[in-house]
């Protein structure tokens, strides 16, 4: 083991059925350092964390901890805690209706009796020493999210942890709260705690971290000192495209015509929703394919959700074909010819127990009205047509959609929206988690629809997919629109440098 290292993971392998989530990943954490674990969605960050915390068992590899001469075995989260590895998750995992002190000591007392007074004074002492603005006797729910987050950290620290894992702790905090959290993290660093920081916010990595480990497709890309890895390089490492050999993929889409004076099909000005995005402007013209790009959590999904009325719209004006409209709920958007394929297929897309047929006709049926159900023959015809057209592999139209594979579920949801014959189609991550063949099918379909006059907004985590299909990209960072690229500017390197926010 290296000197000063508190944790060393060596050659970690982990497979799930059909996926090799981790392939020989090494990871070293030294004491008194904040170490960012970076990677795109699906790179293996959370799998690595879960192996470390005993949620998953590893297939291969060894984990060493400081002070233990042999490799340690971690079979459960309790094991991990006993060994001094604590995790604070994105969602608060404390009990909101208990007091702060109870939350800090829950599950840790030995014996039956509980000295409440001592517990409260102990808790107050810890809170004070960490400079956390909370009282021991206060109910947890009365603290702000940031303070709750800090209390979760305090609990971890008090359990004598040597390794603290912070899994996206900042995603629900505002700027000032993030600042407070960082102060606490620096304080802990000074005490010698090794911190693993998982986040999607690049700015925060550069503000608080010492080292970065980058994962991609379950493999280790490398470990870097923060000063050796400028932002653009980090983004290129995460995406797996070297800057030098960035031969731009030729787009098959028709180039964006800057001089086109025609009125946009859809236009939004100063649109803002309750999902925490900054107001943004956006438009799309007839037959255009454009996209929102940015790292996960940059607000690209929230933008399209605001357009569709999926989140509560707080302000801004929206025009369809030049006429001002009001979109307060999804049905308003649908009536104006907007369709939206949501990012999370399971949660927002499929209606699992219903049949493929019912899932396909659902949106059109809702548009048609409560009192006008399609006849069985009509519904069957719609379903059969689209099953054939999109090549949906299903035993029959009566099969519950949940028993289909991910790609075929996605095709069925796509069929649902195509059936409504929209003027403007929004596809949020339509190709995530589906096989390569279906991916290409969907990309081709998007281009074909656009050539027939449909406007399409396409969001994907894979940049080359965006470059292939989109003629214009809106770039987002930290929930703000930070740039727009079209024509010659459409290249991996430009996207990366815009995402990274210039060469800081």
């Amino acid at each position: 083991m290296k000197e000063k290292a508190v944790l060393e993971m060596k050659n970690i392998h982990k497979s799930f059925p059909g996926v090799r989530a981790l392939q020989g990943v090494d990871f070293t954490l030294c004491e008194g350092e904040i170490h960012a674990l970076m990677g795109e969605n699906g790179a293996g960050k959370s799998t690595l964390i879960k192996v470390l915390t005993g949620v998953y068992g590893k297939d291969e590899g060894e984990i060493f901890l400081k002070g233990k001469d042999k490799a340690v075995a971690i079979h459960s989260p309790q094991d991990a805690q006993r060994l001094g590895i604590s995790t604070v998750y994105q969602e608060i995992t404390l009990c909101p209706n208990l007091s702060v002190a109870e939350n800090m000591f829950i599950g840790r007392t030995s014996g039956v009796c509980q000295n409440w007074k001592k517990m409260n004074t102990d808790a107050d002492r810890i809170l004070q020493s960490l400079d956390i603005p909370a009282k021991a006797a206060q109910q947890l729910a009365s603290c702000s999210i940031a303070v709750q987050q800090m209390i979760a950290i305090a609990r971890a620290v008090d359990m004598d942890c040597k390794v603290l894992i912070l899994d996206e702790p900042t995603s629900s905090l505002d700027e000032q709260e993030v600042e407070k959290l960082f102060r606490l993290m620096r304080d802990l660093r000074a005490r010698g705690v090794g911190i693993i920081f998982v986040t999607h916010f690049l700015d925060q990595v550069y503000e608080v971290c010492d080292k970065i480990t980058v994962l991609r497709d379950g493999k280790l890309v490398g470990e870097y000192e923060i000063k050796d890895l400028p932002r653009v390089k980090l983004v290129s490492k995460m995406l797996g495209k070297e800057l030098d050999d960035m031969s731009d993929i030729k787009g098959e889409s028709k180039p964006y015509d800057k001089d086109d004076q025609s009125a946009p099909v859809f236009e939004a000005k100063g649109l803002v929703s309750n999902a925490g995005i900054k107001p943004f402007n956006f438009y799309i013209k007839k037959g255009e394919v454009n996209g929102f790009t940015g790292l996960l959590g940059s607000g690209r999904s929230e933008c399209v959700r605001a357009i569709f009325g999926a989140d509560r719209v707080l302000g801004g004006t929206v025009k369809m074909d030049g006429k001002e409209i009001k979109i307060g709920k999804p049905l308003d958007a649908m009536k104006n010819g907007i369709a939206y394929l949501p990012e999370d297929r399971k949660v927002d897309g499929i209606v699992g127990d219903l049949s493929v047929r019912e899932n396909i006709i659902l949106a059109l049926q809702v548009l048609k009205g409560f009192l006008k159900p399609f006849t069985k023959a009509e519904a069957n015809k719609f379903a059969e047509d689209y099953i054939k057209l999109l090549g949906i592999k299903t035993a029959s139209a009566d099969t519950p959609i949940k028993s289909l594979s991910g790609g075929n579920q996605q095709k069925a949801i796509l069929a649902r929206w195509l059936l409504t014959d929209p003027k403007y189609l929004i596809l949020d991550e339509p190709t995530r988690g589906i096989d390569i063949g279906t991916k290409i099918d969907i990309q081709k379909l998007v281009l074909k629809l656009a050539s027939e006059g449909m406007s399409v907004t396409f969001i994907s985590s894979e940049t080359d997919e965006m470059l292939r299909t989109c003629s214009r990209l809106v770039v987002m960072r930290d929930r703000k629109v930070v740039g727009e690229l079209s024509g010659e500017e459409l290249s991996q390197s430009m996207i990366m440098s815009t995402i990274a926010g210039g060469d800081k």
Binding site: K329, G349, I350, G352, L354, P373
Partner: protein
């Protein structure tokens, strides 16, 4: 020989398909009870023709009792199925709500005098007023569940507790008695027709719900909301309103059941009327193989489930089980039925069937 074989495999194929069908559960339960009664005492199925005290021709016998007494439960099962499907929860206030709507009917019919010589209002008016009141109480539950997002059981607990006192208050805690014989038709017999009226009312409700499910999207919408609320919203549905609507529909069912109940006795006992019927209604939904956590539902199976419960109750009465002890016996039978209908057990049963089948087939060939 060959034709016999295919015939056989068709039969067993049909059987294993049936086992996996949802409606299999209440059908199997019904058959079980029917066979039990047939073995122990075939006279259970005897139906006699006679005249009742009013001189009307009537059919009587245990089967008629089941068809008669099961009516309210079957009607309630319709509404309860919809509420369960859309909200993934149950309304436990239907018994209390029946007391309220029954009390309203009597109040409108009696006016200020609790023992009127003549009806103070047409029965249809009283019924319509009761419908409105019951739907308002349903709407109250619906608002709590759909818009304030209170758990259905907690939200309806309010009316469960307050309903019977409200029913008593509506009639100033008096016990009105209706002397008008035509009011008794709804819970008894229409002169000249030997089949009890509640059965016809229940059938009418079944036909109406069948038509509604056929000619509107109520079924699709409630199921979609119950399965995946978030996805339903993104498909343009208004999940809160649909949940609300199911409670209002259940309110309507309550009013109909309330009319039958008060008509049976031409009076009301606030603390006893429709007591514990909510639990039977929920049980009917469960016996129909519908998930109490909401989502997909099978209306026919629920209604059948209601008659299974009545079949069971009547069977127990026939064996002279004391009415106090009845729930205990019922509970035992229900446990057996529910365990048998659990997906795990059904999987296992159909696996066992598959194992048995090839053996039998082999013997036949040999």
């Amino acid at each position: 020989m060959k034709s016999i074989e295919t015939n056989k495999s068709n039969v067993s194929g049909f059987f294993s398909r049936l086992v996996r069908r949802q409606i299999f559960i209440p059908i199997a339960a019904l058959l079980l009870l029917a066979v039990f009664n047939l073995v122990t005492d075939p006279s259970f199925y005897k139906i006699t023709f006679g005249y009742n005290s009013a001189g009307n021709p009537v059919l009587s016998g245990y089967l008629m009792t089941i068809l008669d007494s099961g009516s309210e439960l079957a009607i309630l099962a319709i509404g309860m199925t919809l509420v369960t499907a859309a909200t993934g929860g149950q309304d436990i206030s239907v018994g209390a709500a029946i007391a309220i709507s029954g009390s309203v009917i009597l109040r409108v019919l009696c006016g200020t005098n609790s023992r009127p010589e003549t009806l103070q209002a047409p029965i249809i008016v009283a019924f319509l007023v009761a419908c409105i009141v019951a739907m308002l109480f349903g709407a109250f539950n619906g608002v709590l569940v759909a818009y304030f997002r209170i758990q259905p059981m907690v939200a309806t607990l309010i009316l469960f507790t307050a309903g019977r006192p409200i029913a008593a208050w509506i009639n100033n805690n008096e016990l009105p008695i209706i002397n008008e014989p035509s009011f008794g038709y709804f819970g008894g017999f229409i002169p000249g027709i030997p089949v009890p009226t509640p059965f016809f009312i229940a059938v009418a409700c079944m036909i109406i719900i069948a038509l509604v499910l056929r000619f509107t999207n109520l079924g699709l919408y409630t199921q979609a909301v119950g399965i995946n609320e978030s996805s339903s919203r993104l498909n343009g549905l208004n999940p809160a309103f649909i949940k609300f609507l199911t409670f209002v529909i259940l309110g309507l069912c309550v009013a109909v059941a309330g009319l039958i109940k008060v008509s049976r006795f031409s009076t009301i006992n606030y603390s006893v009327i429709a007591k514990d019927i909510e639990m039977d209604a929920i049980l009917a939904v469960a016996l129909g193989g519908n998930a109490l956590s909401g989502g997909k539902f099978n209306m026919a199976a629920s209604i059948l489930g209601a008659y299974v419960i009545q079949f069971l109750t009547t069977t127990l009465y026939k064996f002279n089980v004391q009415s106090d002890a009845l729930p205990a016996y019922k509970a035992i039978v229900v446990i057996v039925l529910v365990v048998l209908s659990a997906p795990i057990v059904r999987e296992w049963l159909s696996g066992v069937w598959k194992k048995i089948r090839p053996e039998g087939h082999g013997k036949e060939v040999a």
